[in-house]
Symmetry: C2
Subunit: 153 residues, 2 copies
């Protein structure tokens, strides 16, 4: 019984650390973007295209789990800045495929590699196993929470 309560308390704390964690992470990303002409939301677009390849606005919206209308705005900004470009979409004439330009690809690679170095430095005091365990737990908890929230709808 004691262990059950401890575990629940730990999980509770873990869950509610997610907000300050996210805020700190976003602050770091923002700081790393100074001087690049990129905004945080443009970076998000570049990251998706870099990670999953070229795709349309609605596809990006689905991955980010936000409304396509807002993603459209993000992508239009990114287009205007020249980090991505439109390509004809054989599957849909009105919905061009968005792809990184060379400039955009170079930039997002640089940014991610810089961020990875930072992250690696932060993980120096943590063991590989602990990090892997933490990721496993967090993924499981996030999954449970999503299911729970979904059930109540």
């Amino acid at each position: 019984m004691y262990n059950v309560d401890m575990k629940a308390a730990h999980l509770h704390q873990l869950i509610w650390m997610s907000r300050p964690l996210m805020q700190a992470a976003e602050a770091c990303v923002e700081a790393g973007l100074v001087g690049t002409n990129l905004t945080v939301r443009m970076r998000a677009v570049l990251e998706i295209l870099h990670k999953y390849g070229e795709q349309t606005v609605p596809e990006i919206a689905a991955r980010l789990e936000i409304q396509r209308q807002y993603v459209q705005i993000m992508c239009n900004e990114t287009l205007a800045s020249g980090f991505i470009e439109q390509r004809a979409n054989p599957r849909h004439k009105r919905s061009p495929i968005l792809a990184l330009t060379d400039h955009g690809r170079t930039l997002i690679k640089e940014i991610i590699s810089k961020e990875m170095k930072l992250v690696a430095a932060m993980g120096e005091d943590l063991s590989d196993e602990d990090v892997a365990t933490a990721l496993k737990v967090v993924l499981a908890v996030a999954d449970s929470l999503k299911k729970q929230a979904g059930d109540r709808k």
Copy 2:
């Protein structure tokens, strides 16, 4: 080298899980508040008072790490709903101490116990050790990120 990269990648993923984790958590909390006349931000006020005892608006703001002006609004709402009450503050005439009313205390206890049950159910498949490890890692990462973000200011 391989392990270093794996660890960094895991940490990266862990960090960026914090946003969906937080959103799912808040959705769950919101769902659990249906029918209570409480909003999520009123619940936050009650939780702080329940956890740390009666205190003033600026103290709550410091704990939540948001501006006192917004906390003032949250607290005024909560006051209006009768879940908390003002008590004279011997240390500052203009800044009353906020305390849970009986009604508020009962409610927040119920809510937290309900949430704890949910959390405990979610943790059934996870070992005590793994959860403790995950919490340790997340706390360390959040700490590093905060320091990093602070350094760049």
